[in-house]
Structures are given as C-alpha cells and as structure tokens.
C-alpha cells in the first residue's frame, strides 16, 4: 500500500495541517511516512505545497517523483493544476473551487475548473462554503482532507482521531468544527464522485451539494445515497439535481414569493447541466459587490439588473444598465438602481452579470424557451423567436411557425426538436435563410429542450410533495455565443402543487354505458316533466321495464309510472342494486342523493341531469356541495386517509356491500391510465353530470335525452354505428344528430359539468369495449389536468387505428393575465390543446361544420387503410381540378397530388381512348374528364386508381349538371348511375369520397351515395381538405403506433 499525495494551496490556507493529520493517522497505524513541506515565505500568499508519502514499506525520497503522485489535494483550484505533471495517468485531483485571486493574471475560473474536470477522477467542490457550514471558513483545509479521505486507506475514525489529537490543544470547539468539516468534505466528495460517475455535470452536482443541510453533510458514512439514484430515463433529473431544485423552490416559496428571480432561474437551468449562464452574482439589497468578485468577471463591462418580483420586463422598465467594470462605478450603479426602483416596487437586490458580446445578427437571432404549467394539460414547453418581439411574432405568424409548443410530459426532446425545426426560428438559427449563418447546433438545442422538459416533468406536475410546482420557467432570450446558448434573462413563477382527481374506475363507468338495471330518482308526476320524458325514452329505447325502478317516497295519487316499473321509497330500499341511477331531482337535492346513493352501496353509476349545479352564476354553492358529496363518497372508506374522513358518514358507510369484484384485478385489466392515481373507495359510485342530458346508448338500450321523439326522431331503425359522441353541450349533440340524419352512434353522451366522470374517464371506458371505432368530442373545458389524461386516452385510441374527432370551444380563453410571461402569451391553453391533439393524430375541427364533416367521414371511412398520402382525384370540371390542387396546404405535409406514373398514365390513356376522350382530356392528376364524360370513364378510372399501389385515396367529383350523367332523382334507378359505383367503391380498403357541388335537385343523389357508404361533400376543395386531414391523421396514427410499440412500456 502506498499513497503519494501532493497537497497544494496558497500560503496561509493550512495545507501542512492536512499533511499533519494524515501523517499522524499513518503513524498510528505503524506506516512509513515522508512529508516534505515548504516553509519560509509560506505565509506570503505564494504557492505552497507538501509532498506526502505514506507506505507500508520503507520510503526513500522525501519528494514524489514526477508522474507518480496518486493524488493532488488542493485547497485552491489553480494550485491543483500547478502540479499536474506530478500526477500519474489515472491520478486523482481533489480541489476546492474557491479561487484565491491574488495575482493579476489569474485565469478565468471556469477554465480552471474545466481543466480540473478533465481528470476522470476528480472532486471539485466549494470547500470554503462547507467549512463555513461546519463552523468556520478556516477549516476549509479539513474539508479538503475529508473530500480526499474517500480515496485514502483510512477509516473516518482513524482520521477523525488524528484531527482530534491535532486540534485538542485549541479547545473543544475547534475540534468539533474540524471534525464536522472533515465529515462535510467526505460526504460531499462521495456525493460528487457518485454523481460524476453517472454523468452528471460538475456544476449540477456542486449545486446539489450547496443545498445539503449540515445534518445531511455530517452524517458521513451513514449518508443515504438513495436520493442520488440514477434514473433509467436519461431525460429525467437525477436525485441530486432534483434535491437541489426542491430546496430552491421551497426556499422561495417559504419566503412567500411566487416569482423566481433571474439568478434562481439560472441556477435551476444550470443544475440540469445543460446550460451555463453567464457569470452572475446576486447582490442583496443593502450589500455590495466585493472587489475580488468583480475583478473575476471577464471583459471590460458588466450588466447590472434589478432583482424584483414585480419587474418582469426589465429592459422596458429601465432596470438594466451596462457599466464599465470599475468597482466604484459598479457599486454606485447598484445603489442607484436599487434606490430608483425601491420607491415603486419591492426590490430584493441587484444582479451583476457578465457582459456577453453575443453573436446576435438582427431580428430573430435570439431564442425563447419556456415551460408553463397549464391547468388542463399540465406542463407545456414552448420555443420560438426570442427577444422583445416574441409575443408580437407569435401573434402575427402562423401557428407552428413562430412557436413550437408541446405538452412536456408527452414529448421528448428529440420530438420537440423535430417540431422546432418547423418554425421560422429554426430556419434563422440554423442559418437556413439567405445570408444566414448557423448560430446554434442541433445538439445544443436538444440539450436545452431536454433540460426544460426534464424540469417540466418533475417540477410542474405529479410531484407527490406538498411543495410548490413551477408554474412558469422561461428564458427569454437565449443569445448565442460560439454556437452555444447563453441565457440573458430568465423568469419563473411558483404555484401551489396541482393534482389531478383520481381516474374513475372504467369498470364503474361501464355501468353508464350499458347498465343492467336502472333506477330513477326525482321523477315528478307531471307527464311533460324531464323525469317523465326520460323514463319514457328509456323504455322506448328497449330497456326492460322489469329492470327499471323509480324512487318515489310519499303516498297517494294514481300510479303515474308505466307498467312493470318498480317503485321503491328510497335508494336503500331498492330490491336489487341499481347499475345506474338517473337523478332528475333539482340540483339542490343532488348532494343528499349522492350521499344516499353512496351510503346505500346499491348504486354503481349515476347520471345527474339537472342544471343550475355550479355552471351558472349563483349556483356555485350547490355545485360545490355536489362536488363535496362525491368526494366524500370517494374517500369515505379509505382507511389510510383518516384526515379526509368525514365523521357524519362513518355510520352510513358501514352497511355497504361490495358491488364489484376484486378492485385490484379489475384495475389490472383496465387500460393504461397515465399518471392518474386510481386510489378510491371501491364502493362509491361514479357520477355523470350534473347539467347534462345523460346518455343515449344503443348497446345499453337506453336513452336519457329529454328531447321528445317528434323533435329528434329516434334512430332505432338504423343499425348502430361504431361511433361515440361525447359532448359537454347537450344542445351541440342534438343539433349534430338532427343535421346528420344518417348518423346513428352507439353512444351519445352529454357530460355536463364533469363533477366526477370526465371526458377521459369515458374515453378510457369506451376504448376498452372494442365496439367503437370513432369518438367525436365536443368540449368547452377540461377539469384540472384532464386535458392531459384525455390526450393520453386519445393517443391510445388512435394507436389502435381508431379515430378521434375533436372540437374544443373557447379559443379566446387562454389563461393569459397581465403578470403572465412569454410562455403563456405564445402557448395559451387553447393553442396547446389544438396542437397537442393534432400531434397525437386527432382530427381537430376548427368549426362546427368541419366537426360534422369529419365525424361523418370518419364514421363512413372507419376501417379503411392508409399507407401514404397520395390522392388521386377525378372530376368533370376544370375548376374543380384546380380547386382541389389549391386546397392542399402544408398543414398536411404527407398529402400529395402526385403526377401520374408512366404505366398509370398509359392505362389512363387506354381508358380515355376507349371512351373517345383522348383528344379532350389531359392525362394528369386531378384527371379532368370534361363534361363530355359519362359515368363509365369515371368507373374505369376510379377502379384503375383503387388498384394502383401509388394511390392511397380517391376523390370523385362531378358537376352533376352534365347531360351525360344520371344524377337527377328520377335517373337514379339507371344502371349507369353513380349509386351503383358508390357501392363498389365503398368496399375498397382505400378511402373514396364523393363530391356533388350543386343545388338541392341533387340531394337525392347525395343521400343515396352516402347511404352506400361514401362520404359526400358539396364542394370539391372542402372534400380535398377533409380527406387530406383525415388521411394525415391516419398516417400520424400509424407512426404513433410504431412509436407506441417501443415507448409504451417506458412511458406509461
């Protein structure tokens, strides 16, 4: 065993004390020691060192030969480097990061630390800070010893004994301080080595160490490194970084602050290890910058910024000044800046920042990156053109061009970079415009995005901790320096932790879809009351009256309920459990009914019809009471949650019987549910509504819609289509059903206020049934974080080849406020919803008409296969050919109208020849057959196209006024008519849509064709757009499916 150690520092730092302790410990073990010291001018601020050799064999030289030292142990970083030639190849460098800058040409500390970090085995920590925490900055040398001790063949006990012996004559306090310093150093170094070993950046691990409490540090050998576990997910922050984050957030939050200061934002992004902020120092109000600190700044100038939670746009408020790096000048500017603003706003201090001469070259050469916790979707990430024009550009440019945005939990850095590549910002930053020069590498962007996404995933949502979430964290702008990102300003906001309500168990939601028995409560005697209409509608839908009960207390009056329906005086008096309870009682009665339903244990699901239950002004109290009643039910029997237990419910809770099987096995069968926790009381019911029309269920044979059949004819004569419509607005549903007369969805669900069952609950439940291929969703708002869960459910739908049509109302609602930052301005809630839904492959409708068209088309095209986006169109009008081509846009990047291939063109030529159209018709796509064409060339061309590999979808369009076509109602029976072709075409595995652009004389043709399974459009360009949209989503779905195969295990 031999240790050759160079101990280095600046005179006065106490390196000989380190040597002394080690020597004493070695001596106590009977080892040989040689320890060469430098005396003389050692107290004069010069470089001093000691060679320490410890061996179990005889030692000769007092000096360590070059290239043979096992370790350099330095209390000053530059001094560590002074002796590197002494070190053996795989030697260890243990150094303090505290620069002793007493020479004019001291190099930039970053460079010094980088040089140290080049050694694979190194520890570089702030030893002065640890010493201060241990009881005195003078003990930095013993911190260094502790840090080195992990490498040396001594136990802590052996070294601590030596420390005690050495310092004994200086008194107990000095001994204690030094023993503590030793432990701090040892702990910090162990943590540092562990983190470096798994690839954490030195900066991040130093940041983490800086946050350790003295207790934690002093634990020495007992330190639990569990918090430092490496995450298998590379984009996840390590425990060390997470810990540092947490401490910082809690610190600010406990101060009562909601804004994070610029330097705190820098610290956070630095901790993630991706981005180095410029050199900066926070000068708290009332103090000033030290000369040595100022002199350590590179360059001739520094930037002084105000630090205030109230000043967001600093440059607009005169809160930024650039001054020469002159001590007096900087100090007076700091004072002046603070004094000037202190009258108007609370000022925490000033930030002195390195002046960066960055590579800015005009508009758009700065980058903005931010994350923000949205109420509905959780954290989102946005990136785009930075600087003061960020909001302006975002508002004036096309969505997706100015700003890339995505839901952070559902996006990884690579995917987000792909999105960012579509933006104008990327074009400029990557030098892809005229005269452009690349300002930043993709790798740097990737690191940056990964950092922000990591922060978002871990600190904006699902935190488990009671601590605050990051509400917003953004850097605007990043400038560029040698292709690196340099943050020039940052802001952040904290908010109370957001939590999603637990997911409703799908096996209970099933009872809403297909109940075996139904009970109703709140049905009045009046025949035209909601309750009566619903009761009749349920029975009219084919529900077995034997399985129907009505809760009716009181006596007297003629029986007003249809024959067979059972009547019970109360829910608990029901003879059998009711799968579904339909509540038509007034809103004020609902809380009591909910409690009763839950207490009885006889209800699995319920629909709360009544409005005025929180959604209107004045009804908020009732809404809250309903919510509380539902919450009581959910939590009443969770024994681990005593604090939520409501005593009045305890007695009632006793009598329940289990209504479902083992919840655990049920849950394991349920579809993946993302991060929503399924902790619940297994006996409580699920509640749909209030303020809803309930459910029309064809499989369940029931209908709670209270629209008289005369107003909305029932579709019982039509076969049920594999479609579910979920709408927050009852009116929206009935309007759609009314106008889409051929639509016959398996489920039509009005969800109302979503006090319990949310849109995502329904999507998951329907998803697992397997008999529904298309979901159409109309929403005005999600409950907290349910947008995210819905997004996940939609992604799951689409991954299975199903279709989701989505419309979100509330474009103007954006979550914007005066205090909100750039991220909110450029990535509002509505934008995110649209972008994210589109990204996972939902067909996002921009208006009601689009919604109807997409719904209809999706229903009819369900099951079609789409390989690529190549559309072949055939028409008989030139204007349609042009119009269809024009309708394509970059919104659907994979959709193309490709020129005909040579063989295809040859076959078309043959067809044209056969029908004597060859002189009139150009052989191209779209194929304009001219008004001279009859149905026959249509038939031949479409048949040909559907058989060609190079065609993925077909649009058939006719201007039906041509005399050669059989398009009037009276001509439909003709064997040549399109309706026969429609039957043939609809059987193809490729999508075919039909266009009839003309008046009501041709409605019969349109209806007939649609009945045969082809979607009908009344305008060619619209047909092109919708088909393109639909096909694009199918392509996206296929891509997602592939991705999901790979990612499903890890992401969910």
């Amino acid at each position: 065993m031999r240790h050759d150690i160079i101990i280095a520092g600046v005179g006065g730092q106490g390196i000989l004390t380190i040597a002394r302790v080690l020597s004493m410990a070695a001596l106590a073990k009977g080892l040989h020691v040689k320890q060469a010291e430098v005396h003389g001018m050692s107290q004069r601020g010069g470089a001093v060192y000691s060679h320490l050799r410890i061996s179990d064999e005889e030692l000769f030289s007092d000096l360590i030969p070059s290239g043979q030292a096992d370790m350099i142990l330095a209390i000053e970083p530059l001094e560590a480097l002074r002796y590197v030639q002494m070190l053996r190849q795989d030697g260890i460098v243990v150094a303090s990061t505290n620069a002793e800058v007493n020479i004019a040409d001291y190099p930039a500390i970053e460079g010094v630390l980088q040089h140290i970090a080049r050694f694979r085995n190194h520890v570089a920590i702030d030893m002065e800070k640890l010493a201060r925490a241990a009881g005195g900055v003078l003990a930095a040398n013993i911190v260094a010893l502790g840090a080195a001790s992990t490498y040396l063949g001594f136990t802590s006990g052996e070294l601590e004994s030596a420390i005690e012996e050495l310092f004994a004559r200086k008194g107990e306090r000095v001994v204690e301080t030094n023993v503590r310093a030793f432990r701090f150093g040892r702990t910090a170094a162990a943590a540092y080595l562990e983190a470096i070993g798994r690839g954490a950046s030195p900066e991040s691990i130093r940041g983490w160490i800086a946050t350790l409490s003295p207790d934690h540090l002093a634990s020495a050998e007992d330190l639990d490194f569990a918090g430092l576990e490496t995450s298998a997910d590379a984009s996840k922050l390590s425990g060390a970084e997470a810990h540092a984050f947490e401490s910082m957030l809690m610190g600010a939050y406990d101060e009562g602050r909601r804004q994070l200061y610029e330097h705190e934002v820098y610290r956070l992004i630095e901790l993630v290890g991706a981005i180095s902020p410029p050199r900066h120092t926070f000068i708290p109000k009332g103090s000033t910058i030290a000369e040595q600190v100022l002199q350590s700044y590179p360059g001739e100038r520094v930037v002084i910024k105000l630090v205030s939670s109230e000043v967001v746009h600093k440059s607009d408020s005169g809160a930024v000044v650039i001054v020469p790096k002159d001590l007096e000048r900087v100090r007076s500017e700091i004072d002046r800046l603070i004094a000037r603003h202190s009258e108007q706003v609370p000022v925490a201090g000033a930030l002195v920042v390195e002046f960066i001469e960055h590579d800015a070259r005009g508009l758009g050469t700065e980058l903005f990156v931010g994350i923000r916790a949205t109420r509905e979707f959780g954290p989102v990430i946005a990136a785009g053109l930075g600087g003061v024009q960020t909001e302006y550009l975002a508002a004036k440019m096309l969505p997706g061009i100015a700003v890339a945005k995505a839901v952070a939990t559902e996006t990884d850095a690579e995917e987000f970079l792909e999105m960012f590549r579509q933006t104008a910002a990327y074009d400029i930053l990557a030098g892809q415009i005229r005269g452009g020069e690349r300002l930043v590498s993709d790798g740097e962007l990737l690191r940056c995005f990964r950092a922000f996404i990591s922060i978002a995933r871990q600190f904006c949502i699902d935190r488990g901790a009671e601590g605050p979430d990051i509400g917003e964290l953004e850097v605007n702008p990043f400038a560029f320096f040698n292709q690196h990102l340099v943050p020039l300003d940052g802001r952040g906001r904290l908010k109370p932790a957001a939590k999603a309500a637990p997911a409703r168990p799908p096996e209970l939601v099933d009872h809403l879809l297909e109940p075996k028995s139904i009970a109703m409560v709140g049905v009045s005697s009046k025949p035209d009351s909601f309750g009566q209409i619903i009761l009749r509608n349920i029975l009219a839908s084919g529900f077995d009256p034997e399985k129907m009960s009505v809760i009716k207390s009181g006596t007297g009056g003629a029986p007003v309920f249809p024959v067979g329906v059972k009547i019970a005086p109360s829910i608990s008096d029901l003879e059998h459990a009711a799968d579904l309870l339909v509540i038509t009682a007034p809103a004020a009665a609902i809380p009591g009914i909910v409690d009763e339903a839950n207490a009885s244990g006889k209800v699995n699901a319920a629909i709360m019809i009544s409005g005025g239950a929180g959604e209107t002004e004045g009804s908020e109290a009732i809404g809250e009471m309903i919510q509380n009643a539902i919450l009581r039910g959910r939590l009443a029997q969770e024994p681990e949650d005593h604090k939520f237990q409501i005593s009045s419910l305890n007695a009632a809770g006793e009598a329940r019987e289990p209504s479902i099987g083992n919840p655990k096995s049920e849950i394991s069968k349920s579809p993946p549910k993302g991060n929503r926790r399924s902790g619940r009381n297994p006996k409580s019911a699920v509640f749909l509504g209030p303020n809803c029309m309930g459910v029309q269920s064809r499989p369940g044979k029931y209908d709670t819609f209270f629209v008289p059949t005369a107003k909305l004819p029932s579709r019982h004569d039509l076969p049920a289509q594999p479609v579910a419509i979920i709408s927050q607005s009852g009116a929206f549903i009935v309007s759609r059903l009314s106008s889409l007369s051929q639509l016959s969805p398996a489920f039509t669900i009005s969800i109302g206020n979503q006090s319990d069952v949310t849109v995502s609950d329904l999507l998951w439940a329907i998803d697992r049934r397997g008999d529904v291929q298309v979901a159409a969703i109309y929403l005005e708002g999600f409950v907290d974080l349910d947008g995210l869960e819905t997004l996940r459910a939609v992604e799951h739908w689409i991954a299975q080849g199903k279709t989701v049509v989505f419309y979100k109302a509330g474009r103007t609602e954006s979550g914007r406020s005066a205090a909100a930052g750039h991220t909110a301005a450029v990535a509002g809630d509505y934008d995110i919803c649209q972008t994210a839904m589109r990204h996972v492959g939902a067909l996002v409708a921009n208006d009601f008409r689009e919604f109807s068209q997409l719904l209809e088309m999706s229903t009819l095209l369900a099951g079609k296969q789409v390989e690529n986006g190549r559309i072949f169109a055939v028409t008989n009008a030139g204007m349609e050919a042009v119009g269809m081509a024009d309708a394509l846009s970059s919104e659907w990047p994979d959709i193309r109208i490709e020129p005909l291939s040579e063989p295809f063109e040859g076959q078309i030529a043959t067809i044209l020849g056969e029908h004597r159209l060859d002189k009139l018709v150009s052989r191209r796509n779209p194929l304009d057959l001219t008004p001279m064409a009859s149905e026959a060339p249509y038939a031949a061309a479409v048949r040909l196209a559907l058989n060609r590999e190079e065609v993925d979808g077909v649009i058939v369009s006719c201007v039906p006024l041509s005399p050669t076509l059989h398009t009037l109602e009276s001509e439909l029976d003709d064997p040549a008519s399109f309706i026969h072709l429609a039957s043939e075409w609809s059987k193809s595995l490729k999508p075919v849509v039909f266009v009839i652009d003309s008046g009501r004389e041709y409605n019969a043709l349109a209806d007939a064709i649609q009945q045969r399974g082809l979607p009908i459009f009344r305008s060619a360009d619209e047909a092109m757009r919708r088909l393109a949209q639909w096909m694009q989503s199918r392509i996206a779905q296929r891509t997602n499916e592939e991705a999901l195969d790979v990612a499903s295990a890890s992401r969910r």
Binding site: V10, G11, G12, Q13, G14, L16, T17, A19, S23, L27, G30, H32, V33, K34, Q35, A36, E37, V38, H39, G40, M41, S42, Q43, R44, G45, G46, A47, H51, F60, S61, D62, L63, I64, P65, S66, G67, L78, E79, L81, R82, V84, Q85, L87, R88, N102, I103, D105, Y106, P107, V112, H115, G136, L138, A139, N141, I142, F167, K170, V174, T177
Partner: protein, 547 residues
C-alpha cells in the same frame, strides 16, 4: 519511546536534547529555525534564547562549552558567514562540553540569497562534519556528533539541507536522555581541588588552549592538523559511511542524494554504492570503490565537494567521474528525484504535461501588511526625485522589489542596507534611503548605523518595526518598540521620527519620509506597526496556526 513524526530539524533538536545539552543558541533562519524552536518549546530544562545574531549565538555556545556543558548552535548557511569568526577559531581552541553546529543549507534557494555549501566550512575549519540522509539520522547523528565533539575536543558540524530539514518522517528515539552535568571550569590548580566530588575525577582543561594569542594559536593549529588522520580514520569506520560493492558503476552519494538514488534504483541496486555521512572524507572507502568501478557518479546535495576532490585537476586515469562538474547533474539548484533518476539512466514516464493555464504565484505581501503601506509612502515620497537609491535588507520587506513598489534596488545580506546607503551617499547619490526590519537591525544594522551617525551620512534609514522576525515565523525581536527608540537614541540618532504605516496615515508617512530626505545628514524614520500575523495570533488561536 514510540516512533515520532519529525521534521529533520525536530529530529536534530531531539537528538541534542537527548544528548543532554545545556543550551541551544540560534538566530532564526530558514531552514534551520525549527531546530531552536523545538528545543525552546519542548525542553524547558535547556537554556534557549534567541541570540541577536549567529555570531553571538556561536559565542554563547562556545562559552557554555568552555564551562563544561554541551551546547547546540544552529543557523542557516549564510548565518555561518556571520558566525565564521568564532567558528573558525573554535576549531583551534577546541571545546570542553561538546559543541554541535547544525547548519541548514538551502540548495535551490527556497528562501535564501545563495546556496553555499557548508561542508566547505567544515573542511576549511578542519573539523568533522556529519551529513544525515534521513530524519532518523538527524536524530542519531546529532547524538553521535556530541560524542565525536567530546572525543576529539572539537566542534562538530551537522549539515542539513532544506529538503531534509523541512520534511517529516518516522523517527525512533533511544528514549534515554542523558543529563548535562559535566560542569567543569579551567582554573589554575587541579581538579582535585574542586569542592565537587564528581568534578575532581575529571581531567582539567588547560585555559591556554582557549586563549588564542599567536603563541597559543600556533600550537593549537598544529594540534588540529595532527588530529586529521584520526578524524579520517574515524570516518573510515563510521557506520554513517557505508560501501556496498556490486556492479562496475559506482555511485557516491550523500544527504538526500542517497534517498533519490535508492528511489530511482528501487529495491535491488545493481550498482556499487558508497554512501557518505561523515567527513573528513573516508579516503580508503573511496579508493576501494574507485578501484572496483569504471565509472563513478557522484550524487551530492550542494556544491560538487566530493566530486571535485575525486577528480582533482587531472582526474583518475581510466575512470570516468560524473556529477555536477560534467553536467550529468545540474551544477545549481536542488537535487530532485527526477534529476537523479535521469542521471542514473532510469527514465520514468511523465504522463501528464504541465498545464498551460497555470499562472505563477510568487510570494507577496499579505493583505494589510504594514510593509506594503510603508513602501507606498516611500515611493510617493521619492517620486519627485530623478535618481533615488533605495537599499533594503533581508526580510519580508524584500518583497518591496515587486510591482507596484519596485522599491528595492539592492538586498545583499543581513544589515547591509545601512552600510550600502552610507557608501552610496559618499558617492554623491541623493536621496539615499534604506529599509531594514527591526530584527535585522538588531542583528547587524546597528553596527552600520553607528558609523553613519558618527559621520552624519546624508541618508534616510527607514526601520520597519513590525515587532517580530516575521519571515521565519514570528520570532521575538530584540529591538522593537520603545527599546528600538532607546537604542537609536543611544546610538546617537538625532533626527528621528515615528510613523504608523496605515492607509489613512499615508499623507503623514509620505510627509515624514520627505522631511527625513530633506534633512541634511542622517535621519531615521521608524515605521511602526505590528505584523498582521502577530496581531492575529494574539487575538485568536487558529487551527491553521501550524503553518
């Protein structure tokens, strides 16, 4: 006694303590300072006071020896120049109680103005010299040195080098300290007359031996010459001189050179090795080595003392002699393990290149050092003159040569500044100032100042009184505070001002120095403010105080 971790200096001190010294005498000087300090701190029964200078120290030791007690006198190599007068003559007088002179040489000039090799002094004086290689030998040889000293009635030198003096290693001690009770004085009459029983049995020294009037001195010199064969014979059989014959390459090594040879050759050297630890040189051992080998490499720390004697003017026919003279080893500077390994042809990898980012970090004034303010005031005070000459002296204030002051134009030896200033003024230079510390002033500045006072030289002497011997670790000063003022007055200084070098008093300091310059004739300015380290130590006890 269990093993101790001792500096070479400490091991010497303990060797002396365990040899039963009655006194330790020294003037502080790196690398020898800790020898005296160890005795002073840890052997309360031994007389130990700093002396005003090395000459005084040696003379005090000599007196103790004449009075029958063992005495240790230690100093740095240039200190021996100061003490050379009594040292050279003591070789003639011989000793009564043993005298061991420990000299700390400073090859590489870590903190000295030259790297003179004290073995030449031992040779010059024709006394034995012991040269340890290890800390253990520091202890052992010091004890043995007293034995030799008393056997031959000669002072004995122990020569250390910085590397050994300031390096710690395990040392085992005999643990049996002998008492110092050889009190015996030369008196007319015989020992039998003594009132004390134990003294009566001892041979009585002859006071004529110690009285170097020419007649006695000639006799004593012949006696010294006559002793030389005995001294060489002692070296031949000394356990510190060890010959191991093996290969045809021979290595003569001394001091830490021996360590570096062993380090380079590792466990089983193939070469023949003569390791020398006791002088005069063991001629027989050297002859046997040379006869056995074709090539001799001399690895000695310091000057090529052995190498030069070996090769003489003509060399040894048929033999190659290598060392510092032929460039196998550098002629200057400290030996290093790398240099020795290279000289022996053992090439080791240097895997890591020096880091280019590293900037030099020379020693500099501590933050708040009073000297820095004194120099500021001085440079301002002389700014108006074209050719001011600023002499300085040995001490921390020599750092005044660095920017921004550049206020040291010459620094030669202890106390030289006052004399040099006087000489320069006699050449017509004006203004001429000199800076000297309080301790250096006491050491050798006073003698120069007496002359300047008497001739009223037109110079300004700035005495930087920081109350301590700061550079060597804050030993007490003999001429500080009011004592200094009284000394100055006693020496006859008339134009005397005292200032406090502080930033806030800058103007007064400048003014005082300006006034002193303007004064025709000798003027003295005492810049008085304690060394910040002395102040600190007085205030708190720091864990780092070790350094």
């Amino acid at each position: 006694m269990p093993a101790q971790l001792w500096l070479g200096d400490e091991a010497v001190a303990w060797g002396a303590i365990d040899a039963g010294i009655g006194g330790a005498f020294s003037y502080a000087g790196t690398p020898a300072t800790e020898i005296f300090e160890t005795v002073e701190a840890l052997a309360p029964h031994v007389w130990a006071r700093w002396s005003a200078n090395e000459k005084a120290a040696y003379e005090e030791a000599l007196g103790m020896s004449y009075a029958g007690k063992r005495a240790l006198v230690s100093m740095k190599h240039v200190g021996l120049n100061v003490a050379a007068d009594p040292f050279m003559s003591s070789a003639l007088t011989g000793v009564n109680g043993g005298i061991v002179l420990v000299v700390g040489d400073d090859p590489g000039m870590h903190s000295s103005q030259n790297e003179q090799d004290s073995r030449f002094y031992a040779d010059f004086a024709r006394i034995p010299c012991l040269e340890p290689s290890t800390q253990q030998e520091c202890y052992d040889m010091t004890q043995e040195a007293f034995e030799i000293s008393e056997r031959f009635k000669l002072p004995v030198m122990v020569r250390l080098v910085t590397r050994l003096a300031h390096s710690r290693a395990n040392v085992s001690t005999s643990g049996s300290a002998r008492s110092s009770s050889r009190f015996i004085v030369p008196r007319s009459g015989s020992a039998a007359d003594s009132k004390r029983e134990e003294v009566r049995a001892l041979p009585r020294p002859d006071p004529d031996d110690w009285t170097l009037v020419p007649a006695h001195a000639r006799k004593r010199f012949r006696h010294l010459i006559g002793l030389q064969p005995e001294l060489i014979a002692a070296s031949e059989t000394s356990p510190f001189n060890k010959l191991t014959l093996a290969g045809k390459r021979g290595i003569i090594c001394t001091s830490v050179g021996y360590n570096y040879v062993r380090e380079a050759l590792e466990a089983n050297p193939q070469d023949s090795i003569l390791r020398i630890g006791q002088y005069p040189l063991p001629a027989g051992l050297i002859r046997r080595l040379v006869d056995h080998c074709d090539e001799i490499i001399v690895v000695e720390e310091g000057y090529p003392f052995i190498e030069q004697r070996l090769s003489g003017i003509l060399g040894i026919p048929g033999k190659t002699i290598r060392g510092k003279l032929d460039g196998t080893l550098p002629p200057d500077g400290e030996l290093l393990p790398d240099l020795v390994a290279e000289a022996l042809g053992v090439v080791k990898a240097h895997p890591i290149a020096p880091d280019s980012i590293v900037a030099g970090r020379p020693p500099q004034f501590c933050k708040g050092c009073p000297h820095a303010y004194t120099f500021s005031a001085m440079t301002d005070a002389v700014a108006q003159f074209d050719e001011p000459i600023l002499f300085s002296d040995i001490g921390c204030y020599a750092l005044g040569l660095m920017p921004p002051y550049r206020a040291v134009h010459a620094c030669v030896d202890m106390g030289a500044s006052v004399g040099m200033a006087q000489g320069a003024s006699r050449a017509g230079a004006h203004p001429v100032l000199c800076t000297i510390g309080d301790s250096t002033f006491a050491h050798s500045g006073m003698t120069g100042l007496i002359g300047a006072v008497q001739s009223d030289a037109n110079i300004t002497v700035v005495i930087m009184d920081n109350g301590t011997t700061a550079m060597t670790g804050a030993q007490d000063s003999m001429a500080t505070g009011e004592t200094l003022i009284e000394i100055l007055k006693g020496l006859g200084v008339k134009d005397l001002q005292v200032v406090e070098p502080l930033p806030k008093a800058h103007a007064q300091c400048v003014e005082a120095i300006r006034r002193a310059i303007d004064h025709q004739g000798l003027s003295v300015v005492v810049a008085r403010r304690p060394c910040i380290h002395v102040k600190k130590r007085a205030a708190v006890t720091l864990p780092q105080a070790e350094d």
